[in-house]
């Protein structure tokens, strides 16, 4: 494998979805263009922040990157392989290598499965051995007691559920993880814990991470580069420090200015 080559390359990525609200009585719904020709790359071991408001297309972009959605144009290459239009059956062997952590851990954990099954199921599918040991290790990694194997998701707190989501993703030893707004539903105390945990895991396991968020303040600590999306287009893609120190796009400036800092002296007019 060529280590100099980025793990993920995106070229002129376009994606349209049917606009059901605008559907005429007869005939197909018109297409709504969500992603309008995006190009960027994620190098191996990098952490890329993807920021934008609602309707910016950030979640759609994330789901296209791991091919939960099929792009309508352009190309996505994963480790040099073009996966843009790969059928689901051919994607399956690649699935182990690209994982996702979801926004809402309650919705993303099957309510009728125990934690052990949620983490162990994918391991079994991909032919891992010593499933029990790997599940225990994954729980250790995310700082949950091993006894949680026999718990159901609804018996856990929000922060604990999100850790299970992380454990499920890292247990497969993937190369790439997509984290979609993973702390936006959590209280600040668990938010900080989950972010610190993720930061440690990325370093320890040498993961490549795309971190989607609407909140620039959680991006700063975690990400080396930031990509700002606005209405399906990249308005800024730069090193994090630069984005915070001297944002070039007007929209980035606007996003930064809108964040209420916990400080009554901050001018915020």
């Amino acid at each position: 494998m060529d280590d100099a080559r980025p793990l993920i390359e995106v070229e002129n990525l376009r994606l349209s979805l049917p606009d059901l609200a605008g559907k005429p009585l007869i005939g197909p719904a018109p297409k709504l263009e969500i992603l309008k020709g995006l190009s960027f790359a994620i190098p191996r071991g990098a952490v890329l922040g993807i920021v934008g408001g609602s309707g910016s297309g950030k979640s759609t972009l994330g789901r296209a990157l791991i091919r939960l959605l099929e792009p309508s144009g352009g190309a996505i290459r994963f480790d040099g392989q073009d996966i843009t239009h790969l059928p689901e059956a051919d994607l399956r062997p690649l699935r182990r290598r690209m994982q996702m952590i979801f926004q809402d851990p309650l919705s993303s954990l099957n309510p009728r499965r125990r934690v052990g099954g949620i983490i162990g199921g994918p391991l079994r599918l991909h032919g891992f051995d010593a499933i029990d040991r790997r599940v225990d290790e994954a729980l250790d990694h995310v700082g949950l007691p091993r006894s949680f194997r026999s718990r159901y998701p609804h018996e856990l707190s929000g922060g604990q559920r999100q850790r299970v989501g992380i454990a499920r993703a890292i247990a497969l030893r993937p190369d790439f993880i997509l984290a979609d707004e993973i702390v936006s539903g959590l209280d600040v105390s668990s938010q900080a814990q989950v972010l610190n945990l993720l930061e440690g895991l990325v370093a320890d396991l040498g993961l490549t991470l795309a971190f989607i968020s609407h909140d620039l303040s959680v991006i700063r600590r975690l990400c080396r580069n930031v990509l700002v999306l606005h209405r399906g287009e990249i308005v800024e893609h730069a090193p994090t420090a630069q984005v915070f120190a001297a944002p070039r796009a007007a929209y980035t400036r606007e996003l930064l200015d809108a964040i209420p800092l916990p400080d009554p002296d901050q001018p915020w007019g």
Binding site: L68, R95, Q99, M100, S108, R168
Partner: protein, 283 residues
Amino acid sequence: MLDGRGAIRRRAGARLWLSGGWLLLLVTVALFAPLVAPQDPLAQDLMSGRLPPFWSAQAEPGFWLGTDSLGRDVLSRVIWGARVALTVACIAGPLTALIGGALGLIAGFYRGWADRIISRLVDIWMAFPPVLFSILLIAVLGTGLTSIILAIVVIDWTRFARVVRAEAMNQGAMDYVAAAQVAGFSRLRTMTAEILPNVLPTLVALLSLEMGIAVIVEAILSFVNLSLSTDAPTWGGMIAEGRTSIHQAWWVLAFPLVALFLTVLSFSQFGEGLKDRFDPVLR
């Protein structure tokens, strides 16, 4: 929080025990009808017609719930009638659930053309008036237990298909389904191992309800004399006969009616109770 949940559980418990108790009793007497029934349900004795129930002064020992106009023992006929009712419920219910549930699951999870075909079929099916439809079916198939069961399955599968389809669509929108796809699980495995367990509580509750409905349908068809032979003991047949002598012998109508009512109610309550009691997920 735990205490509040406990209170809800206790109520569900009472409902479950009462309805389950009645159904258990009914199943037992139906299974052992030849041993339990005090009289031969078909034996006529015109000399002892229209005997009142046991608490009345004119009652005769051995005929606990009285006799009908032909002198047949009402209790024994109710017990043998339970056999017919439960046979229909226990075969027609699960069969309907299996067919309707499978089609609903496929339509709701796979969507696309499978959904279009199944949904149109359901729409067309539901445009037929169900009672006329069943009478028509019996007319074609001929009377008998098999025909009744078949009629119920053919008519009622749409109920399961609609509910399960909607529920499968709800569940399909949850992220745990996307998570299964990210893990690399096949569509079929996702449907059977992820969606089905989450649809199952609804399916079980609906099945129990359907078994009650099957009992009613059997009674209706017997009432209009479209089920078994005329003198065979069925609740619907007894109600039909009792109707003609309601002023002289109300008990001929009342006891099968009460049995019918309690059974249908118990089936619906039993399903809901099961769902509340054994579903690990709080709603």
